[in-house]
């Protein structure tokens, strides 16, 4: 069979140089980047080509093709997921034995596997935030008709989001896209998530990487509770008296607050015209990040956007521009606040965190610094102090380097392959 690389031309070139005639497990170290991996049933390796890090997963061809297509579809639907780059198939060892295909995805910059997060922090509220991010991701996937089939922390990557996290789907192998999901599909997905998360938490606890106060079962129950609450808010019919029409606006506000835009609302009045029933039909996540992008061109996560927009509001008030056109104020804010802060960060430290996240941290830092010094510290001063005293000591998260292959057993959980069968 001939080696076939299905990918965009630029990436095809780079991919050509890799030793495809070798099983992924035997690739020499110099091709690889040591990144902590989740629990996977397949061989997964990371490699660096040019400026990008790629994840390679060895898997039978029909599965590779299917997952590639699935990830492309999810990207088209705007779901936060890793980006599929290509499929390499028709691989053959020098002795003629055929090798499984490899699915290539681009490693998500600034993303963190949960095990890397727990290697440094293990506080209860960190766990809560991870769970919140995952719940929002599951709800988003379910809204688009995606049944995950194997939702877990291992199959998710997290990006920092103004003190919280934004979750990305990494593994779509068991996923299915439908026009809509049945209650049974959603319930089963959630049940799988609950079992997997509890298992992953219990494992962290057994490894001493989780605070003793965290109860894995309570955490996994929380997944179900929070999902149910969010799903209800997103999809439930609400009935009220015709005189309470303001409740329509309040429902929309609540959804905005949760980070969703309402594109379509179904409103039904009963025959007597006394009762109104309302159900959001099309909701679109990313309310704040879309608004920030429109106003400033800054691409950010949802909570980061919320934080930056708040600062923008404060800026408008302080500079007495509240009556001004929003776009004009936003432009001024970028020039006066956002860019000076990022410029105050030495170039070599900029790979530590994403821009919006740095800005968020500087805002926090300014608050603490002002309190300690007993005077109002300017943004640029806060930024310089933050760079020296905080950012410099943070690990580089552009591509988080946690585990190494030398300590594979502690950072990489066991993978069981059917070939292990005796």
């Amino acid at each position: 069979m001939e080696l076939r690389i299905l990918a965009a031309p630029r990436e095809q070139q780079a991919l050509l140089d890799l030793p495809w005639d070798m099983p992924l497990e035997q690739w020499p170290e110099w091709y690889l980047v040591a990144l902590p991996r989740g629990i996977s049933r397949h061989v997964v390796r990371f490699t660096r080509l040019g400026r990008n890090v790629y994840a390679l997963k060895e898997i039978v061809k029909p599965y590779a093709d299917r997952e590639y297509q699935m990830l492309r579809d999810l990207a088209r639907l705007g779901v936060p997921a890793v980006q599929a780059v290509g499929v390499v198939s028709g691989r053959e060892a020098p002795d003629g034995e055929s090798l499984d295909s490899v699915l290539v995805t681009r490693h998500l910059q600034f993303s963190l596997p949960y095990r890397a997060l727990f290697a440094r922090m293990m506080r209860r509220d960190t766990v809560d935030r991870l769970i919140d991010a995952l719940v929002v991701l599951i709800a988003r996937l379910h809204l688009t008709g995606f049944y995950w089939g194997d939702c877990s922390l291992s199959n998710t990557l997290f990006r920092r989001d103004a003190g919280a996290f934004a979750a990305y789907l990494v593994d779509a192998e068991t996923g299915e896209l439908h026009n809509g999901l049945s209650d049974g599909q959603r319930a089963h997905d959630l049940d799988t998530a609950r079992t997997n998360i509890a298992g992953e938490m219990m494992d962290l606890l057994a490894a001493g990487q989780l605070d003793e106060s965290v109860d894995p079962i309570a955490v996994s129950d929380q997944v179900v509770e929070r999902y149910t609450a969010l799903w209800t808010e997103l999809t439930e019919w609400e009935a009220f008296d015709v005189n309470e029409r303001w409740r329509i606006a309040r429902r929309v506000d609540r959804l905005n607050e949760l980070g969703f835009d309402v594109d379509e609302l179904d409103i039904v009045t009963d025959i007597g015209g006394r009762t109104i029933r309302v159900q959001p039909k099309v909701v679109d996540p990313g309310h704040h990040s879309r608004r920030l992008l429109r106003l400033t061109g800054i691409d950010s996560q949802e909570n980061q956007a919320r934080r930056l927009l708040n600062d923008l509001d404060t800026y408008a008030a302080v500079t007495e521009q509240q009556g001004e056109d929003e776009e004009i104020v936003a432009n001024a804010w970028v020039l006066d606040s956002y860019e000076p802060v990022l410029r105050a960060i030495p170039r070599e430290l900029r790979g530590k965190l994403e821009g919006p996240e740095i800005f968020h941290e500087v805002l926090e830092h300014r608050w603490y610094l002002s309190e300690n010094l007993g005077r109002d510290v300017g943004l640029e001063e806060a930024a310089r102090d933050y760079a020296d005293t905080v950012l410099r000591h943070k690990p580089d998260e552009l591509a988080i380097l946690g585990g190494t292959s030398a300590e594979a057993d502690t950072t990489q959980p066991f993978r069981i392959t059917w070939s292990d069968l005796q």
């Binding site: 599909q185 089963h188 799988t192 996994s220 057993d409 959980p413 069981i416 059917w418 069968l421």
Partner: protein, 373 residues
């Protein structure tokens, strides 16, 4: 443990008229290993998902034992989807790896210990319960993962193409493992595959589906020996059955110079449906090479010979004077015949085959149903 009953269960996807699963009637016995098989889009996975509670049921009912589960949430059905997830947690003991899902479900500690103990005994893992997965061999780890489904002691195991991400060699060894484990456990199992060889080697009984309709459910040998219609005849068996339309006249079925005796009862049935043709099927092993002069032979031009050591198969096409008509009436692209290994004909040779008496399958041209003498 329990029986599973599909009682005219129907699934119609929104926006479509044709049911994905059409009034499925199937009674699965307690402890039985039942395989649902068929080409893609036949409704086998949908049927399994209806049983799992993932697909809504638009008509009819599904029962597990005496319980009507038609509209029950998945987790209340007492079923387990097997091999969906077989990652092991490295810092947890083998016992915890097997029992953690029970902990989540709030099962009392003593009960967890008992179930894990029982499963470990069954899987030959008793002496490893306190160890970490790292200390186990690959095969043992695999069994721990299986143990995770077993400790749930579900009434029914559901497996949806669990071997489809394996290469061909592993598929064969793993399917034997699953089948033998299921027999030891005796838990009712419903297994979905598109691979008829997998279906035939694993199932106590096999249900063949096509276009949302149940075609036949029988033991593997029953399906092979008495396919109830043309679809099953063509789908079950590897290599496939040769199927062609023959003319029926004076107690003989003929197609060109191919000539097969037809029992009087079959001729009568053909006549009764106002037809003068019949669909005739014969398996590759029912063809025997004959001398060129022998009457009723089917001359075949050999395209490919597959030598398997214990068997050899000839893949060819009709080659006689009526070759064109024969090829037209053939349901498949080729004629397949099993021949003596080590003495197989060469590519390009012409061989005359006759159909061994009594090994033919007759089907109605009108309905496709099997005609029994």
């Amino acid at each position: 443990m329990a029986t599973v009953t599909f009682d005219k269960a129907t699934r119609i996807y929104p926006g479509t008229d044709k049911p994905a699963v059409d009034a499925l009637e199937l009674a699965i016995e307690d402890g039985e290993f039942l395989v649902l098989v068929g080409p893609s889009g036949c409704g086998k996975s949908t049927s399994l998902r209806m049983l799992a509670g993932l697909e809504e049921v638009d008509g009819g009912a599904i029962r597990i034992g005496e319980r009507d589960v038609t509209h029950m949430p998945p987790k209340d059905r007492d079923i387990a989807m097997v091999f969906q997830n077989y990652a092991l947690y490295p810092h947890m003991s083998v016992a915890d790896n097997m029992g953690f899902a029970l902990k989540i479900a709030g099962t009392p500690k003593d009960e967890i210990r008992r179930r894990v103990g029982d499963a470990a005994k069954l899987l030959d893992l008793s002496e490893y319960l306190d160890r970490k997965p790292k200390a186990l061999s690959g095969g043992q780890r695999q069994r721990v993962a299986m143990g995770r489904a077993i400790v749930r002691e579900p009434q029914v195991f559901l497996m949806d193409e669990p071997l489809s991400n394996l290469d061909a060699k592993l598929r064969v060894s793993t399917r034997t493992q699953i089948a033998s484990l299921q027999r030891r456990l005796g838990i009712t199992t419903v297994y979905v595959t598109h691979d008829q060889v997998e279906a035939m080697t694993m199932g106590d009984r096999v249900a063949v589906l096509n276009a949302g309709l149940l075609q036949q459910v029988d033991s593997p040998l029953g399906l092979y020996d008495k396919p109830s219609n043309v679809f099953v005849a063509g789908f079950i068996g590897s290599p496939a059955m040769n199927i062609a339309t023959f003319d029926v006249k004076d107690g003989r079925a003929t197609l060109g110079n191919a000539d097969v005796a037809v029992p009087a009862s079959i001729s009568a049935k053909v006549a009764a449906e106002g037809s003068d043709t019949v669909v005739l099927g014969f398996r590759p092993e029912s063809l025997t090479p004959a001398s060129a002069e022998e009457a009723g032979g089917i001359p075949v031009l050999v395209d490919v010979v597959e030598e398997l050591g214990s068997d050899a198969y000839v893949y060819g096409r009709p080659a006689g004077p009526a070759a064109e008509e024969q090829a037209d009436r053939l349901r498949s692209d080729q004629i397949i015949a099993r021949v003596e290994p080590r003495n197989a004909p060469q590519k390009g040779e012409k061989i005359n085959f006759t159909v061994r008496q009594g090994s033919e399958h007759f089907f109605s041209v009108k309905t496709g149903e099997r005609l029994e003498p």
